[in-house]
């Protein structure tokens, strides 16, 4: 599995109602009905656990899309 696949999986697990066909890297927070502050917390927690990293506060507030999340994770590698 590539890093892209792993990040996509984290995204789909955080938003169980989101189907794979609806997933887009560039879709932003406002495009998701369920992406509230708690979903953001779940997304960050799951990503940190999965990739064994810790995001800084600045990084957390800069993640608005799957693409942002992927880039943020790449920067820790």
């Amino acid at each position: 599995m590539t890093l892209d696949d792993d990040v996509k999986k984290v995204f789909l697990e955080t938003f169980p109602a989101l189907s794979e066909s609806d997933f887009e890297w560039g879709k932003t927070q406002k495009d998701y009905e369920n992406w509230d502050s708690f979903a953001q917390l779940n997304l960050i927690t799951l990503a940190e656990a999965k990739f064994e990293i810790t995001f800084s506060d600045d990084e957390i507030t800069s993640i608005f899309s799957a693409k942002n999340l992927l880039e943020c994770i790449k920067s820790h590698r």
Partner: protein
């Protein structure tokens, strides 16, 4: 029967030659136990009636003789758990003010450090028979003193009267239909209210009690098989281990039991269902109670409904829920009845916790339309996430169903935005390596978003009280 002393005396009169107690292949008949107890009581004649005698023993016939001998002599048995820390031991001794501290040989080093000229310290083997004087206790006398575990605060001394105890024991016998034909397997500490209640029950009906020092599953199963036991009393984690796949033939061994009784610590519904399936004609039951108000409710799992409930209040016991919000169906559980203590050992605790005979339990509960009580957690343990009150036990129950979880605690963690969020402490089981991702994914699927843990920490074990309960306040 009016006092605990009557339990043994009565059963001895009815069937003196019957085996009363089995402790690691050593057996005592009711006649032998009666004689040993009277011998022990005679030694205590030198102390005034209602003196405190502190007992530090593992589950052995020495404990049973010392406990019943103390009761029989009109003294108060202060029961000390064997896992007690030296500091807590000194605190309890300082509060209980015993005339005598007694232990088995292997725990004597613990009590040897007690420094007081007014306290005698002895090994069980040093107790010598003198001439016996009949000094029976009265129903209103204190029978035993147990210090609560202090999962949320400092331990409180709980003195239980003979009257409290006779009421509770009769209640257990009536509800769970114990009889002299029973053979009861008991892998529970006798210094704890659950185990002690089972001991009272056996002697009340004159059954045979098999006590275990540890919760070794193979030994428990061997006892059930070898003695053709009819009842098993065990904590939920023991039962969950028994029905896990690791023990060959456990289903066959358990199948003929007529009763499995556990206590109000959460019993996973899956375990209940497995046990019910295993038992041919037997029943699975649980109860809700505290040392201060033993066996206040009972739940016999007859059908698949109310499987997470601890049942309805017993006859002669009233429950009510007290909440700051009049419309809330959830509140702190208050209990009133003959099983409830009249006071704590210290007046300060009495004023705080007992109001007009109602015991404030500190437990949060919900009662459904049919009167079934559900325990939601402790008042002090609530997690406040952006104004939403979250019960840690709700999260823990969701996580506990996962394979690979030995134990779990949900605790509040400070958060800049939400005030508090959930932090999860997980003790993994040795057999399966579960990941944080597995746990989080499961939580996301099964909990509302705000209840999903924001952090998970794996721990080797939890800080525990002398009774083995997790000290939640130390994880906050």
């Amino acid at each position: 029967m009016n006092t605990i002393a009557d339990f043994l005396n009565n059963s001895y009169r009815i069937h003196p030659d019957k085996i009363a107690i089995i402790d690691n292949n050593s057996k005592l008949t009711y006649s032998e136990l009666h004689e040993e107890v009277n011998n022990f009581s005679s030694f205590l004649n030198k102390f005034p009636k209602n003196s405190v005698v502190s007992l530090l023993f593992a589950n052995t016939h020495e404990f049973v003789i010392s406990y019943l001998g103390t009761i029989n002599s009109g003294c108060i048995a202060h029961l000390i758990p064997i896992g007690i820390s030296q500091k807590n031991l000194m605190d309890q001794i300082s509060s209980a003010k015993p005339k005598l501290v007694l232990s088995s040989e292997n725990y004597f080093s613990k009590i040897a450090e007690i420094e007081s000229e007014n306290i005698e310290k002895l090994r069980f083997s040093e107790v010598k028979k003198t001439s016996y004087q009949d000094r029976k206790p009265q129903p209103s006398d204190y029978a035993y003193l147990i210090y609560t575990s202090g999962t949320t605060s400092s331990p409180k001394g709980v003195p239980v009267t003979h009257s409290n105890c006779v009421f509770t024991t009769a209640n257990i016998v009536r509800t769970l239909q114990y009889s002299q034909d029973d053979i009861d397997v008991l892998p529970l500490s006798l210094s704890h209210s659950f185990g002690l209640g089972c001991l009272h029950t056996s002697f009340y009906v004159g059954s045979t009690l098999i006590i275990h020092k540890t919760i070794e599953i193979t030994q428990i199963l061997d006892s059930i098989k070898n003695y053709n036991a009819s009842t098993l009393a065990a904590i939920p984690s023991t039962l969950s281990k028994i029905v896990s796949n690791g023990f060959d033939d456990s289903s066959n061994t358990l199948s003929n039991l007529r009763l499995i009784i556990t206590n109000s610590t959460f019993l996973p519904p899956e375990t209940t269902k497995k046990l019910k399936k295993i038992l041919k004609n037997g029943k699975v039951a649980t109860y809700y109670g505290l040392t201060e108000a033993s066996r206040s409710t009972f739940m016999i799992f007859d059908g698949d409904n109310n499987i997470e409930s601890v049942g309805k209040s017993s006859d002669g016991i009233s429950l009510k829920l007290i909440s700051n919000n009049d419309e809330s169906t959830i509140g702190e559980i208050w209990i009133k009845g003959h099983n409830v203590i009249g006071n704590y050992w210290s007046d300060e605790h009495t004023k705080e916790n007992i109001i007009d005979g109602w015991l404030k339990t500190g437990d949060l509960g919900r009662i459904d339309d049919d009167g079934y009580l559900y325990i939601l957690g402790r008042v002090d343990d609530l997690i406040n996430i952006s104004g939403e009150k979250v019960y840690p036990q709700e999260i823990e129950r969701v996580v506990k169903v996962l394979t690979g979880i030995d134990d779990v605690v949900a605790s509040p963690m400070k958060h800049d935005v939400f005030g508090e969020v959930v932090k999860l402490f997980v003790k993994k089981s040795a057999e399966y390596d579960i990941s944080k991702t597995d746990i989080l994914t499961h939580c996301i699927k099964n909990l509302e978003r705000f209840k999903v843990p924001a952090k998970i920490e794996f721990v080797e074990d939890f800080p525990r009280t002398d009774y083995g309960k997790i000290k939640r306040f130390m994880l906050k």
